[in-house]
Amino acid sequence: MKPNTHFAFFDEGSKKEIRRAIMKAVAIPGYQVPFASREMPIARGWGTGGLQITLSIIGKSDVLKVIDQGADESVNAVSIKKLVYETTGVELTEQTDKASIIQSRHRIPEVALTEDQIIVLQVPMPEPLRPVEASELKTKSMHAEDDYSGVWLMLFEQIMKYGKTATGADHPVYVNDRYVMAPSPIPRFDNPKMHESEALILLGAGREKKIYAVPPYTNVESLAFEDYPFAVETFEGKDCHLCGSTDVFLDELIDPQTGETIYQCNDTSFCIDQLNKKEEVEVQTSYA
């Protein structure tokens, strides 16, 4: 810990402003609360929204985990982790169940979160209506008027073009039956994890200066039509080539030696956990 930086990097005034925005975000689930996004030592668009939330809520006794696309060791996760560690000295972990705050880019961990945890998601585009309306003033009034025909039309056009809704990630959701929200670019596979989640979900968009939230036990419904129901990515018949897990979000890779397509857990700490468990069993049976 560097002795000459203030605890958690921010001055106390910045923390207060962000803390107030988070309170309002929790009180109005799915509504994007504007906040005065600060200049950070990492570039906007690299997780500054999530980082500002993390720094404003973190305390000495917290245990932090940072993931980027499911990985603990990727550059974005490591830089953010280092910054928070050097200004707070909090304990870091890679194990999902040991963390009290999990900052994540584009994934919700495979291990179910608990009510003592807060997950902070980094958001590049917080406005689900932006693809259909460029003006912020207009999208704000569309939210006010509960007018989401634009989003429905976008999904309808995808069905017309491709025969299914073609959102790769960031599939819009209805929160508490009122606000349509961008769940951040998590795969559709993770959308159901937001519904009635045990953990508090906070979302921060630094460049777009918005903070929003999904409190625990809140209705989160992915937008879909009756005859084109919402579907998550399926990995039927495929398993992780390292740990053998099925039923998790898998990355598709090419084996550089054989040129074959292989699959691997996207959540690295989950994968290592599975491998360790296997190893334990192996050691117990072969050296007993």
Binding site: H6, F7, E12, G13, K15, K16, E17, R19, R20, A21, I22, M23, K24, V26, A27, I28, P29, Y31, V33, P34, I57, I58, G59, K60, E115, K140, S141, A144, E145, N176, R178, Y179, L200, A213, P215, P216, Y217, T218, N219
Partner: protein, 198 residues
């Protein structure tokens, strides 16, 4: 021992955040309220909540007219300015405030606009000891099934609150404190029902 502006207020914030995201869940600030070492005409939990949220960017209002000392103290500690009831971002209700004046405050305070529902007031209200056995049944986001709560607010005050939160997303968010350093939160999304009329 004095309050640590950095770490005590962070702990207070996290507890209030926990309670705000889980309406009806009572959190204890006792570890932090113990450190408030001067005399105040409000609960220590009320003062710490004000310290946590107020600064020069927001305004506050205190109902009773003979609390100039407390107003000065909060202003001095937080740089927040006192504002009339219809402009204040934070409204502090003390134990001594009459039902009539609170009713009036409920009807006058900011509850946001449809475009900017966050421009509403947050209330910090004092109550006799809070408990999870009582006259209120809570449902809504943050509550798994239902939650039960006891406060000293009368049913007509809850009705006044319900009137101001009827047109969701407009509404007001309450932080309720008690003498022993407990807090509970009722955001605008919570539906509050009285089990029986007292």
């Amino acid at each position: 021992m004095a309050i640590d502006q950095v770490h005590d207020l962070q702990q207070v914030y996290r507890k209030i955040l926990h309670s705000m995201s889980r309406p009806g869940t009572i959190s204890s600030l006792a570890d932090n309220t113990r450190k408030v070492d001067f005399d105040l005409s409000c609960f220590h939990a009320t003062f710490l909540s004000a310290m946590t949220f107020l600064d020069a960017e927001v305004t506050f209002h205190i109902l009773s007219t003979d609390q100039q000392n407390l107003i000065d103290k909060i202003s001095a500690y937080t740089s927040s300015k006192f504002a009339p009831i219809n402009e204040a971002d934070f409204i502090i209700i003390l134990r001594e405030d009459t039902e009539e004046s609170i009713q009036h405050a409920f009807s006058q305070c900011k509850n946001g606009t449809l475009i900017d529902p966050q421009q509403s007031s947050i209330w910090i209200m004092e109550s006799s000891p809070l408990s999870n056995v009582g006259e209120l049944t809570l449902t809504g986001p943050g509550i798994q099934n239902t939650a039960e709560l006891h406060t000293s607010l009368t049913s007509s005050l809850w009705q006044a609150r319900n009137v101001r939160t009827k047109e969701y997303p407009l509404g007001i968010d309450l932080i309720i404190t008690d003498e022993s350093g407990q807090v509970v939160c009722i955001p605008r999304t919570t539906s509050v029902e009285m089990k029986e009329v007292r």
